[in-house]
Structure formats: structure tokens, C-alpha cells
């Protein structure tokens, strides 16, 4: 099942939703570069209506970590 986080990653990184999973990270995904990282941050903030701190942004090193941070902020269904 494609969740909200996977949809954002697929959209921003221009990848098939099915290719996004919890292990997706900048290390195995060339399109997850510093420019798209900014876009990801802003898209996530917009989708979940939250504001991320620099610490949280820098900790978002994989889809799983993104979900964990979002859950920690009570962002709801990811």
C-alpha cells in the first residue's frame, strides 16, 4: 500500500510509488539530492501541516526515519 509519505517521495523524486519503501534513502536513490531534499521537506510540511526543525530535517535519512519523525510529532496517518 502506498502511504502519504511514499506518495510525496514518488512525486518529488519522479519515481514510481512502488519503488519507494522504508529503506529508500539518499544513499540508494540518486535523485534524493540536496535540492530535492528541500522539496521533500517542504512537501512533507505542507502535507502534514507541521513545521520541521533543522534537527529533524537532518535526521531524515530514509523513508523509515521520515515516518518515525512524523509519528513522533503526532502527524497522524503516514
Amino acid at each position: 500500500m502506498t502511504g502519504r509519505v511514499e506518495k510525496i517521495f514518488a512525486e518529488v523524486l519522479r519515481l514510481a510509488p512502488s519503488s519507494i519503501n522504508d529503506d529508500t534513502s539518499p544513499d540508494n536513490t540518486p535523485r534524493w539530492d540536496s535540492t530535492s531534499a528541500i522539496d521533500l521537506t517542504l512537501a512533507i510540511e505542507d502535507e502534514f501541516n507541521i513545521k520541521l526543525t533543522t534537527k529533524e530535517i537532518m535526521a531524515m535519512r530514509s523513508v523509515a526515519l521520515v515516518k518515525k519523525i512524523l509519528s513522533g510529532k503526532g502527524a497522524g496517518d503516514v
Binding site: 514518488a10 512525486e11 519522479r14 505542507d46
Partner: protein, 594 residues
């Protein structure tokens, strides 16, 4: 890996910049598999990380039908790019953008200035000269478009625009650097400026800076700022590659004024200083602004033609005058047919016309019949007219040429007068007019026209007392009355017989009562009134009179004349106004009596 299909549900369209980024991603995905080569190659060199600007420039260009390719040069290599652009952007690059921030290029000078080092501002300005030299080198080796940014107010530094000493500190530094840079850039031929300072104002100082992105990625600007700045940059690129629209073709009723002239009459339409008339008036002000940029104005209205011209000629609140209109079709024929006649009359293509109408039916009909015409539906709420049309990029152009400025003049000499009026003070304007006034006692041949004016003039008419030709003739032949008429001319032309004064002379010949005085509205506002009264006073004095008595009878329509008597020194006396001839105005220096 296959690209994800971008269905609308996946694209978050909450804000303009999010959809712009999505559009740019979509285009890049298509471009990966497209055989079509980019048609616009853009190189960006910046003193900051500028890669986040690309989507906004790119999305705008894609929406305009271009296939852009944007290369962002390495961080803070502005000077290197200027001296050797080919090694950064190759030889088929068509646009080079040089974007710089005060913080990056002269951060150290700014810091010293804020710490009261008086020499620092001058040293910062010296760096501008060096930057201009580098730009000049680029200009001489690169044949494409060169665009340089005007820097915004520095962010992410200890000084802040909210501090009380901003005006003398950060504000002074920024304003001085910007002003100096614009001065210097004015000497660089063929270099375009993109105003990032204005982009920052559009989105707001606080909203323009993203502290998190700055610390994590050395990217200082928020998406809101980048969207505004990128759009400005893209508009310059488009304007240099596409010819601007040349003429706005305007509906009249509920477009230039509220209501229908044919039904509501001159007094019933809404145009003036009160809403909603004020919104239509502001729209006319915008049209006049465009006119001064060389955009022609045309009328395309389903109306009786004389009714429309009556509004232009007689309604005092109209900012647009008949002479501002270069072509018109005012009749009951289909607008799609008429608009072709307008294009033909102006000798331009229908594809350079912009059609503006309040009727969705007319807009839709035009879009179908003449898709090459840009058709704009006016918003229903008059308050939104100006804000909707003001931001249109249809008339974007890079250089306002002398020819642009003269285009409408060539069509109608009247425009000349409007432009002079706009650029000079009223007095300077009047002095250049060369106004000649010919005040005379109406002869037999003039009485028909005099009677017509007496009965037709509604606005500048002191008493609005109507008279028949026989009554006027009787006055003209009476030794106790005078029927004065006058003609005026100025350097722009002759206006014919455009005013009348009726005088009753007292039995002792010492008092001249101005039983009526009226002027055609098209000659007002150029010092005619003062000249007329001075000339009349001179004639009266020559005949032994010592005093004028004035009469003013207010009507619904004659507000323009309401202050005439007090303006020229008449003092109220019961229901009349008195002016000793010794206090009468002298002939103004800019008026010649012939």
C-alpha cells in the same frame, strides 16, 4: 525505473509555488524521453546556491510554450563565469543570469559599516565597479541575453529591518548599494536587470528568508521568494523572445464605466471618485499607463456611437479622452468581425490584439471565432479589475523605444497633449501650449452655433438657461446686451467656437451681468477660463463698465462650473456674485488674445 505518472491528485496545488515545482518536475520527466531538443538554454551563476530557483524559472517558461534547459554554475563563481562563460555553460547557451547578494559579495564591508566604519560603504561601492567591469567583459564576448539581479535586503545577519536605526544602518547600506549599482548598470549596454529587491517586497522580508535551508544547504531564500524572483527572471527571458501585444480592444459598458450609457444616460453611468465608479476610473488610469508605454487603445462596443463619444467628450470623470482612442467600431455588428476591422485600421495583426470585455458570452465567442486574439474576461467585482489586469505580462517588453512612445501620437495628434500634461507641472504644460483666445461679439453667422452650445452644454454652464435662436438673435441685436463667443487654438490645433458669454448691461452702463457663461468641456483645463474672463474684463472696461455680476444656478450636471466665480475673485452678494473690474484677472502670461 519508470517515472511516476503525475496525476492531478498527486500534485499538491495548495500554493502557486508548489504547483510550479510540480510542473517543472513533470516537464523534466517528459524531456528525458523526448526527442525534442531544448529551445532556450539558460546558464545561472550566483553568489549563493541557486539550484532551487530553477523550477520557478523553468515552470514559467514551460507554461509559455518554451522548452528550457537550465544549468546552474558552481556556487559563487560569478566573476569566473563572466570571464569564461563557455567553460561553464558551453557555446549554445542563450541566456546568462548573474545573481548576487550583498551578504556574499560585500558581507565584510557590510559588517564593518554596521560597526561604524565610515569607509566601508565606499569600499562596497568600489566592488560594484569591479562587478560591472566583469559583466561588461561577459557582454562583449557573449551574444545572448545577460540578466543581472538587483540585490534584496540582506538576511541572516545581526542587523534587521525592524531595528530602530535601520534607516541609517542596514537600510542605508542596502539602498546606497542598490542605487549605485543601478546607476552603474545603466551604462552597461544591453544588460537586463531583474529586481530581486522587489521580489522580496512582494513576499515580505521575513517570508523571503528560510533559516533552516540557509543552515542546512546554504540556500537562503524561501520558496515564496524564489517563486516571485524566478517569475520575474522568466518574464524577462520571454519578453526578449516574443513580441508584445500592441493594442487593447475595449468594450465600453460595464468595462470602462459601470452601467449602460444607452439606458442609464450620462448621469446614470458609474465613473468617478466613489466606488464602483472609482474602480472603473482606476482601470482607465491603468489603460493610460499602458498608452504611455506605446500600447494602442481601441473601442469595440455594441452601442449607438454618439452615446459613447458623449461619455468621452462630456463626462468630467472620464480619464480616457476621445483622443486616446486610436480605432473604434461602435455599432451592433458581431465583435469578431469588427475586431478585424480594428486590426486593419491600425495595420497590425489580430494576434497582437488583447480583447477585454465583461460579457462571458462575448469573450467565449471571440475565443472561438478568433483564437489568435488574447481575450480577457473582466472580473465581475469591479474592485478586482485593476488587480487582475495589472499583473498581466502581455505587455512585458524590455525596451520602451522612442517609436513605442510615439506610436499613438502618430495615430492621433491629441495624445501629444496628454503626454505633455503627464510629464510637466500644470504651469509648465500651459506655457508650452501656446494658447490663443479669440473673444468676439457673435456675428449673424455664429448665432446658430452659439444657440446650439447654449442648449447642449450641460457641464461647464453657469446657469443652464436654454434659449431659442430668435431669443439669441434678439440679444445680439440689443444695445443693452452682448452675445460673446470665442474660439481657441493651441499648438495642437483649433477647437472652433467652443464658448459663449451672455451679458446684460445696466442702464448706467457701469455693470455687466454675466447672465450665462458656458464652455465646451473639451477645451477646459488649459487656462481658457482665466483668459476668457480677462479678455471680457478688458472689453467691459473699455466700454466704461466698473463691475461684473455673476450668476450661478447649480444643476445635476454643472458641478464643473461650480467654483468658477469664487476661483476668479467674485464675492457672494445674496444670490449673485460681484467682482469689481479692478480685481478681475489679468490675461495670463501663457495666453495670447487675438
Amino acid at each position: 525505473m519508470s517515472s511516476a505518472p503525475d496525476t492531478p491528485e498527486q500534485v499538491n496545488t495548495k500554493t502557486a509555488w508548489i504547483s510550479a515545482k510540480a510542473a517543472w518536475r513533470r516537464f523534466q520527466a517528459e524531456q528525458e524521453s523526448s526527442p525534442e531538443k531544448p529551445d532556450t538554454r539558460i546558464g545561472v551563476a550566483a553568489s549563493f546556491t541557486a539550484s532551487t530557483l530553477s523550477p520557478f524559472v523553468g515552470a514559467y517558461l514551460v507554461a509559455e510554450g518554451f522548452r528550457p534547459e537550465i544549468s546552474v554554475g558552481p556556487y559563487n563563481q560569478l566573476f569566473q563565469v563572466c570571464f569564461d562563460y563557455k567553460s561553464f555553460f558551453g557555446t549554445d547557451c542563450g541566456v546568462i543570469c548573474l545573481l548576487w547578494r550583498i551578504e556574499d559579495l560585500m558581507g565584510e564591508e557590510l559588517d564593518r559599516f554596521l560597526n561604524r566604519d565610515g569607509a566601508a560603504l565606499g569600499q562596497a561601492c568600489d566592488k560594484l565597479v569591479a562587478l560591472a567591469g566583469a559583466i561588461s567583459t561577459l557582454r562583449s564576448t557573449f551574444s545572448g541575453t545577460v540578466i543581472v539581479s538587483i540585490p534584496s535586503v540582506p538576511t541572516g545577519i545581526p542587523a534587521d529591518i525592524s531595528s530602530l536605526d535601520h534607516a541609517a544602518q542596514l537600510g542605508h547600506f542596502h539602498r546606497t548599494v542598490v542605487a549605485r549599482f543601478i546607476e552603474i548598470a545603466a551604462n552597461l549596454r544591453d544588460v537586463r536587470l531583474v529586481d530581486f529587491d522587489a521580489a522580496q517586497r512582494e513576499v515580505g522580508f521575513q517570508a523571503s528568508f528560510d533559516a533552516r535551508q540557509w543552515y542546512i544547504y546554504r540556500q537562503p531564500f524561501s520558496d515564496a521568494f524564489l517563486h516571485s524572483a524566478g517569475t520575474k527572471l522568466a518574464r524577462i527571458i520571454v519578453a526578449g523572445r516574443r513580441s508584445a501585444k500592441k493594442c487593447v480592444v475595449l468594450d465600453c459598458d460595464n468595462t470602462l464605466w459601470g452601467g449602460f450609457i444607452g439606458e442609464d444616460g450620462l448621469d446614470g453611468i458609474e465613473i468617478g471618485t466613489e466606488f464602483p465608479g472609482s474602480a472603473f476610473r482606476d482601470f482607465q488610469r491603468l489603460l493610460l499607463h499602458w498608452l504611455r508605454q506605446g500600447i494602442l487603445l481601441a473601442l469595440l462596443s455594441k452601442n449607438n456611437e454618439p452615446d459613447v463619444w458623449e461619455v468621452f467628450d462630456e463626462h468630467s470623470a472620464m480619464l480616457l479622452k476621445r483622443g486616446d482612442i486610436s480605432a473604434w467600431q461602435i455599432n451592433w455588428q458581431p465583435k469578431a468581425e469588427n475586431i478585424a476591422l480594428i486590426a486593419k485600421a491600425l495595420n497590425i495583426g489580430t494576434n497582437s490584439l488583447v480583447f477585454v470585455d465583461d460579457s462571458p458570452m462575448e469573450i467565449s465567442y471571440m475565443q472561438q471565432a478568433r483564437p489568435e486574439v488574447t481575450s480577457i474576461l473582466l472580473p465581475e467585482d469591479p474592485a478586482e479589475i485593476v488587480s487582475t489586469l495589472q499583473n498581466t505580462v502581455l505587455f512585458d517588453r524590455l525596451d520602451i523605444t522612442d517609436e513605442d512612445l510615439g506610436r499613438a501620437e502618430m495615430v492621433r495628434a491629441e495624445l501629444d497633449r496628454e503626454q505633455l500634461g503627464a510629464k510637466m507641472s500644470k504651469q509648465e504644460f500651459l506655457e508650452t501650449l501656446g494658447l490663443k483666445i479669440d473673444l468676439f461679439q457673435a456675428g449673424t453667422n455664429d448665432l446658430g452655433r452659439v444657440t446650439q452650445l447654449i442648449n447642449k452644454t450641460n457641464q461647464f454652464n453657469l446657469t443652464t438657461t436654454r434659449k431659442t435662436l430668435d431669443e439669441v438673435r434678439a440679444l445680439a441685436n440689443s444695445p443693452n446686451h452682448r452675445v460673446y463667443a470665442f474660439r481657441i487654438s493651441d499648438k495642437f490645433g483649433e477647437y472652433g467656437l467652443t464658448g459663449v458669454v451672455l451679458v446684460d448691461i445696466s442702464a448706467d452702463r457701469r455693470t455687466w451681468t454675466l447672465s450665462n457663461l458656458l464652455l465646451s468641456c473639451r477645451v477646459l483645463g488649459r487656462g481658457v477660463e482665466a483668459g476668457l474672463l480677462a479678455a471680457l474684463a478688458s472689453d467691459a472696461a473699455a466700454e466704461g463698465a466698473v463691475e461684473f455680476i455673476g450668476v450661478f444656478v447649480p444643476t445635476k450636471k454643472n458641478a464643473p462650473a461650480s467654483s468658477f466665480l469664487p476661483d476668479f475673485g467674485f464675492k457672494p452678494d445674496g444670490d449673485r456674485w460681484r467682482l469689481p473690474l479692478t480685481d478681475a484677472p489679468k490675461l495670463p502670461s501663457f495666453v495670447e488674445r487675438i
